[in-house]
């Protein structure tokens, strides 16, 4: 059995607003990423994807607060650790995080090599600058980045190059898990492809053991990761391999999400995009029953009574719905039939 790099058990975190209201942004999320696997997290904006990424690092600062659950990175439980210890011992070494606007973090008055020196000197006491330079140069060459970048200022680099530089810096200390939160959403398609290529390269070359990739662009996610997890209102609603999730989703929400995919390929124009009506629930007062009930096409009275638990489908997939898998599939087939006749 593969070695679990990151294991999360029933992690819950909340935001506390300045009026002392609690917003339950991540609610009892459990996940496991094995060595050599990558996990994608999909969902609408505001569903808690980015908060989950922040929570996974174990590094909480207000307004984000930890409530319950465990985070185990490479066999080590980090959930009770002090923020300062986490910064010194975990961040960068065990788990690395690339935020959405990572390239804006580069100070324009310093050269790229200075950021690399900062990172290494913070974690290793006795290294001289020559060694650091050689190490950085070697890393950049392996990743296909020109070593001249090291001597440049951030303003001299293009957006895509800056983003790739930041990714290279984040894997300097060979972390076990890399969390990439929309690393390519501000880039054009060609730079995006370069970033993705580099992330794949990192996995193949063994710089990182596993990766968590967060985005709402489903075609991208399908091409990057092995498994996809769909989140809705702070909860996991479905989990499966990326092929299963894109072509054969079970949960009505995932079905709606996959129906909104747009790719420039043959047959797209015949497909009718399905949109999910309504807006996500307010997480200050999450509904007592199923959180998706308000927007669901198949809603039943019993949906609104008690909260719905994750249940297992065939071949290890999990989904959160009270309607059995077979019935849902039947309903989808019927819908497709109706659409065909409509055309």
């Amino acid at each position: 059995m593969a070695n679990a790099m990151l294991e999360v058990r029933e992690l819950s975190t909340k935001y506390v607003t300045r009026f002392n209201e609690d917003v339950y942004a991540v609610d009892k999320v459990s996940l496991k990423v094995d060595e050599g696997r990558s996990l994608g997290i999909a969902g609408e904006s505001g569903c808690g994807k980015s908060t989950l990424a922040l929570s996974l690092m174990g590094y909480y600062f207000p307004p984000l607060h930890y409530t319950s659950g465990e985070i185990i990175i490479n066999g080590r439980n980090i959930s009770g650790m002090k923020p300062d210890d986490i910064r010194k011992a975990i961040l960068g070494k065990e788990i690395a995080y690339i935020p959405q606007a990572a390239m804006n973090a580069l100070n324009p008055t310093r050269k790229i090599i200075h950021f690399i020196e900062d990172v290494i000197l913070e974690h290793e006491m006795y290294v001289n600058k020559k060694d650091i330079y050689d190490r950085a140069k070697k890393l950049f060459e392996t990743l296909g980045l020109p070593p001249e970048v090291l001597e440049k200022y951030p303003v001299e680099l293009s957006g895509g190059m800056k983003q790739r530089t930041v990714i290279a810096i984040s894997v300097l200390l060979l972390p076990k898990v890399l969390i990439a939160d929309e690393p390519s959403s501000a880039l054009d398609v060609t730079s995006q492809k370069m970033v993705i290529k580099m992330l794949k390269q990192l996995m193949d070359a063994g710089f990182i053991s596993s990766m968590i990739f967060i985005t709402h662009e489903l075609p991208l996610l399908y091409n990057v990761v092995d498994d996809i997890m769909v989140m809705y209102a702070g909860q996991i609603v479905e989990k499966g391999t990326s092929h299963e999730m894109v072509f054969d989703p079970i949960h009505p929400y995932s079905k709606g999400l996959m129906g909104s995919i747009i790719v420039p390929e043959k047959g797209l124009r015949d497909v009718k995009l399905t949109a999910i009506p309504g807006v996500p629930p307010n997480l200050k007062k999450p509904p007592s029953g199923c959180r998706f009930a308000e927007r669901c096409r198949f809603v039943r009275p019993e949906c609104r009574v008690a909260s719905v638990q994750l249940r297992e489908a065939e071949n290890g997939r999990v989904y959160r719905c009270i309607i059995p898998e077979a019935e849902l599939r039947e309903a989808y087939a019927r819908e497709q039939e109706v659409q065909k006749h409509g055309n």
Binding site: K197, L220, I261, P264, E265, K266, P277
Partner: protein
């Protein structure tokens, strides 16, 4: 022979430059564009290719350096404010950022009332105005009763963008220019907005210019697609032709670099 279509908007040799001397930048370079009645035309390009500058010239928000814009066969005249307003009755736009498209001091009712007034409905009875507003809101699946006495910033980005479409429904311009209407919205609400734009086309037969960087989206919505690179149109034609059998290397690269689902996405060619 098919029914002859009416030429609505035609741009001839539009050029727009910024700066002088060594700092001179050519943002739009000798662009020709013909737009017929009821068509949906997409202009696709990466950031910096000049698509927003072109859209501003077409809208009359910016004067072109050279070239002419013809509207319904006549040369466009936007020399005075009154003439500009006359022109804007025929062409309206939806912009990228819904959050900065509204006057934050005006309530939603007054946003919609302004549109009715502009279409010459100023002296309609109150009931009729409310009926029109309700119809416009239900067109985009919003409930007017829930929106009265609210300010635009109380809505989500997707709802704001849909309200923008409701405005267009009330204004009924001949041409709608949509400048990246879905780029600030997540993939799920994007489907809703696209559906409503297409609905607009089907119901009132509106002519739409769609400006986007997402080639898949352009393929989904449009009849004709133009690919723009560095201020020039490098390729143009019907959507199927351009997307499925691209000829220009730039178009080929764009299509190649978009993540795919049914075909394999080739990562080696970067």
């Amino acid at each position: 022979m098919a029914i002859e279509k009416k030429l609505y908007l035609s741009a001839k040799g539009i050029t727009k430059t910024f700066g002088f001397g060594r700092q001179k930048t050519v943002a739009v370079d000798n662009v020709d564009l013909d737009l017929y009645e009821g068509e949906v035309v997409s202009i696709v390009g990466e950031s910096g290719s000049g698509k927003t500058t072109l859209s501003k010239v077409l809208l009359g928000l910016m004067n072109q350096t050279s070239g002419d814009v013809y509207f319904q066969g006549l040369k466009r005249d936007i020399s005075t404010q009154a003439r500009k307003q006359e022109y804007w009755k025929n062409i309206q736009a939806i912009f990228q950022d819904p959050f900065s498209s509204y006057n934050i001091f005006n309530k939603i009712d007054s946003v919609l009332l302004d549109c009715i007034n502009m279409r010459g409905g100023k002296f309609y009875p109150r009931e009729k105005k409310i009926e029109m507003m309700t119809e416009a809101c239900s067109f985009v699946n919003l409930k007017f009763e829930e929106l009265t006495n609210k300010y635009p910033f109380e809505l989500s980005g997707g709802q704001m963008q849909r309200l923008m479409i409701a405005r267009i429904f009330l204004l009924q311009p001949k041409i709608l220019l949509a400048d990246e209407p879905t780029s600030m919205i997540d993939a799920c609400s994007r489907a809703t907005i696209l559906d409503e734009l297409m609905h607009l086309r089907k119901e009132i037969g509106m002519t739409i210019i769609f400006i986007t960087h997402d080639i898949g989206l352009a393929y989904y919505v449009s009849d004709n697609v133009y690919i723009m690179e560095k201020g020039k149109f490098v390729e143009g034609g019907s959507a199927d032709e351009v997307i499925l059998t691209p000829r220009h290397p730039y178009t080929k690269r764009l299509i190649n670099d978009v993540p795919k689902i049914y075909e394999e996405w080739d990562l080696t060619t970067v």
